[in-house]
């Protein structure tokens, strides 16, 4: 048996060079056809209308790049295909990978939380790092919120940014018009976003998966267009500025305060530092994000969470078991929206300024990419993906132009490579205890 597999490997490892070259050539020719106009001829603004620049070098690079890439890909396939597939060995590998993942999560998750808590006190924690961390945490929270909708319930929501916008504008408007504090507005913003989720979800959640995606996308765009054009209320493209910053239980983070009141640094007898507010904001978003995570993990172990996952797996089977699909989807949609609303009001208070510019479709796509890339339904995956995508693009600020190109390309590649995401491993929410009537669930 072993001998035969080895022979098999040896036999199939021969490379069919002419075939590979032909394949590479065909690919390169197609690349040439694709590149010759769009890359090779650049339209430029001339004096009398548009002119054309010839850039044959770039075309050459693209064609050669495709040829070489295709060749390497062929070598990789040739190396991979004859891998002997012995059932038991493969199961063993899968099982050990699952074990490894479990220990990784068990060790890494608390470490990451501790790391996040102590980060502001590290000597290297400057303002820039904290700002980036706040950004990453905001996306982690948004990712966790959307993960309920997409990852658990399997509802493809392409308009998640609408709830983010509702949260941000609710806070900004409530604060500006009614003079309410951040802490009073936060639950209200969540509630508004949740209400919005229910109102939007009720008519559309009956639709099939891909229709739902387009309708949510439409709603996202509608909300943006309305924010843009309802000038009296939202100041349209000018945006809302002067949004109040959060206070520390009533103590503002300002250098100077009106006579008779105290600010954070006077109350605690510290020297004024603009970093105080940043650190405070960092902890606010950390707590909000962890709360989202705790809530999601909790819900996953409740009947509603299991029903979401079951609905993602097979809606018809759910209906045959007496699960009300519309209500179940609606709860997922509304709860996801609520977390989007929380994150939105945090965004508004951090920025102090919001405009419809911040709530475009691409924002929804980024959040969706975080969820999908990480592995649908995986809480750890969201963290990994958010750090990679948001933190990573911050690192490569110089290559800003190529950022979204790489982003779109990565979405395609990851789907093709691992349709269920990078960390797609799922732990059951319930295990059968060995004793017939033993201790309760863990």
């Amino acid at each position: 048996m072993v001998v035969r597999t080895l022979n098999g490997v040896a036999g199939e490892f021969r490379l069919d060079i002419p075939a590979i070259l032909k394949d590479c050539l065909v690919s390169a020719l197609i690349a040439l056809a694709l590149a010759v106009f769009i890359i090779g001829l650049r339209t430029t603004d001339g004096s009398g209308g548009l002119g054309l620049d010839f850039r044959w070098q770039a075309v050459g690079i693209a064609v050669v790049g495709v040829f070489v890439g295709r060749f390497l890909l062929n070598l990789w396939w040739a190396r991979r295909t004859p891998k002997p597939k012995v059932a038991t060995a493969e199961q063993g590998v899968a099982a050990s990978a699952a074990e490894a993942f479990k220990t990784f999560v068990k060790v890494a998750a608390p470490m990451a939380v501790i790391g996040a808590v102590v980060l502001p006190w590290m000597p290297f924690a400057d303002r820039y790092l904290l700002d980036v961390s706040i950004l990453v945490l905001t996306y982690i929270m948004l990712g966790w919120g959307l993960n309920i909708v997409v990852g658990l319930a399997g509802l493809l929501d392409l308009g998640y940014v609408a709830f983010y916008a509702v949260g941000a504008y609710s806070y900004a408007l409530l604060a500006l018009y009614f003079d309410l504090s951040f802490w009073a507005c936060l639950p209200l913003a969540g509630a508004f976003a949740c209400l919005f989720g229910i109102l939007l979800g009720f008519p559309v959640l009956r639709l099939r998966g891909d229709y739902l995606a387009i309708v949510t996308l439409g709603f996202g765009e509608m909300i943006r267009v309305i924010l843009l054009n309802w000038y009296e209320f939202t100041k349209g493209p000018d945006g809302l500025s002067g949004i109040p910053r959060p206070s520390f239980f009533g103590l503002p983070f300002t250098r100077r305060v009106p006579e008779g009141t105290e600010s954070f640094h006077t109350f605690f007898d510290l020297d004024y530092s603009s970093l105080h507010r940043i650190i405070f904001l960092y902890y606010v978003i950390l707590v909000l994000a962890l709360l989202t995570n705790w809530f999601t993990l909790r819900l996953r172990r409740l009947p509603i969470g299991r029903a979401w996952e079951a609905l993602r797996e097979d809606e018809i089977a759910c209906r045959s078991l007496g699960i009300n699909p519309t209500n179940t989807k609606l709860t997922a949609f509304a709860i996801g929206a609520m977390f989007g609303g929380f994150a939105g009001s945090f965004f508004a208070t951090r920025q102090g300024f919001i405009s419809p510019e911040s709530f475009t479709f691409i924002e929804s796509a980024v959040i969706l990419a975080i969820v999908v890339l990480g592995g649908m339904g995986s809480q750890v995956g969201v963290v990994v993906a958010a750090v990679l995508l948001i933190g990573g693009t911050e690192l490569f600020r110089g290559l800003d132009e190529y950022r979204m190109l790489a982003f779109g390309g990565a979405m395609v590649l990851i789907m093709v490579w691992r349709p269920r995401g990078l960390l797609a491993h799922r732990e059951p929410t319930l295990k059968l205890s060995p004793a017939p009537t033993g201790g309760g669930p863990p």
């Binding site: 106009f37 769009i38 430029t44 559309v204 639709l207 229709y211 969706l368 990565a410 789907m415």
Partner: protein
């Protein structure tokens, strides 16, 4: 009355462009049941290829407009089809039979990729083009001087659209490719068993959709005289709305839906507010999906249990 006629003409022109794009959505949805989210960007690439071809022909000194337009049309259809084919090959084919959201997400990624690819290669600024086809008829002059105008370009758009629609309907109804396509729509596995090359049929569907989108892109460029890398997003969504409104999977439905969306958008802008015209289009999409999920000319779908 005169104003109404003018809007009707404008609406039909816009609707023809939407209809041409919508056919691509409807054919792909019919055959593999996915929303080709990148189709709007294929349309945008068609517009760019047309622009570059026209500029090239201008540099080469070709001055007989009908010939220039014909060459542009052919070049745009060919090169854009290559894009359609490649997108299917790279982003969708490996995911056939995969988990159900995967192709859609891949398509969104492809859409982002194509937009940024064109932005990088061609620059982010809007590209204006001097009118190529000028002139037209004017009639129904009103006492206050308002006249209804019907430009040659509008006539070209409507005529080309009708001709292509007829050609494609014939193609689907009469040729073996059309038969293979309908067979794959019904039951892909069975089609493969009776010897239809399913992969090739699906590829050709994408090629046909892309070719029509290229025509739409060219018409858009000539009609509005200005394009940028972002035109595919809105036009794509509206064309998808048109496909759904007409009944997704149905070719005449796509055309009808396109016309309706074009008319609604034009009349909404003319009589209500131009700012909310996109909201109107989306609102219609939502209403259609809720109250008429199979569209105007779609077949009722029986859920397979």
């Amino acid at each position: 009355m005169e104003y109404f006629v003018q809007q009707l003409i404008n609406g039909i022109t816009l609707g023809s462009i939407y209809g041409l794009i919508a056919i691509g959505y409807t054919m792909v949805y019919g055959i593999i049941g996915m929303i080709n989210f990148a189709h709007g960007d294929i349309f945008m690439i068609g517009a760019f290829v047309s622009l570059i071809t026209i500029l090239l022909l201008g540099m080469a000194g070709l001055s007989w407009i009908p010939l220039a337009l014909l060459i542009t049309l052919i070049v745009a259809m060919l090169l854009t089809s290559a894009y359609g084919w490649t997108v299917e090959r790279l982003a969708y084919r490996p995911l056939r039979g995969s988990f159900r959201l995967a192709p859609l997400i891949s398509a969104i990624g492809m859409s982002i990729f194509l937009q940024n690819y064109v932005q990088l290669a061609q620059g982010a600024r809007v590209k204006p083009l001097q009118p190529v086809v000028q002139g037209g008829f004017t009639f129904m002059e009103r006492p206050d001087g308002f006249t209804v105008s019907l430009s040659y370009m509008q006539i070209v758009i409507v005529v080309v659209t009708i001709a292509l629609m007829a050609a494609f309907s014939l193609l689907i109804a009469r040729t073996s490719l059309g038969r293979a396509q309908r067979a794959c729509e019904q039951d892909r596995r069975m089609a493969a068993l009776v010897g239809i090359n399913v992969d090739r049929t699906i590829s050709l569907t994408f090629v046909m959709g892309a070719a029509l989108a290229a025509v739409a892109g060219m018409m858009f460029l000539l009609y509005y005289g200005v394009i940028d890398f972002y035109i595919g997003f809105l036009a794509g969504i509206k064309a998808f709305t048109a496909a759904v409104l007409g009944g997704i999977g149905s070719l005449p439905g796509a055309m009808l839906g396109g016309l309706l969306i074009g008319l609604i958008e034009t009349f909404w802008s003319a009589y209500f507010t131009i700012e909310y015209k996109d909201v109107a289009a989306f609102g219609i999409l939502v209403l259609v999906l809720i109250f008429l999920p199979t569209g105007l000319l779609g077949k009722p779908e029986v859920e397979k249990v």
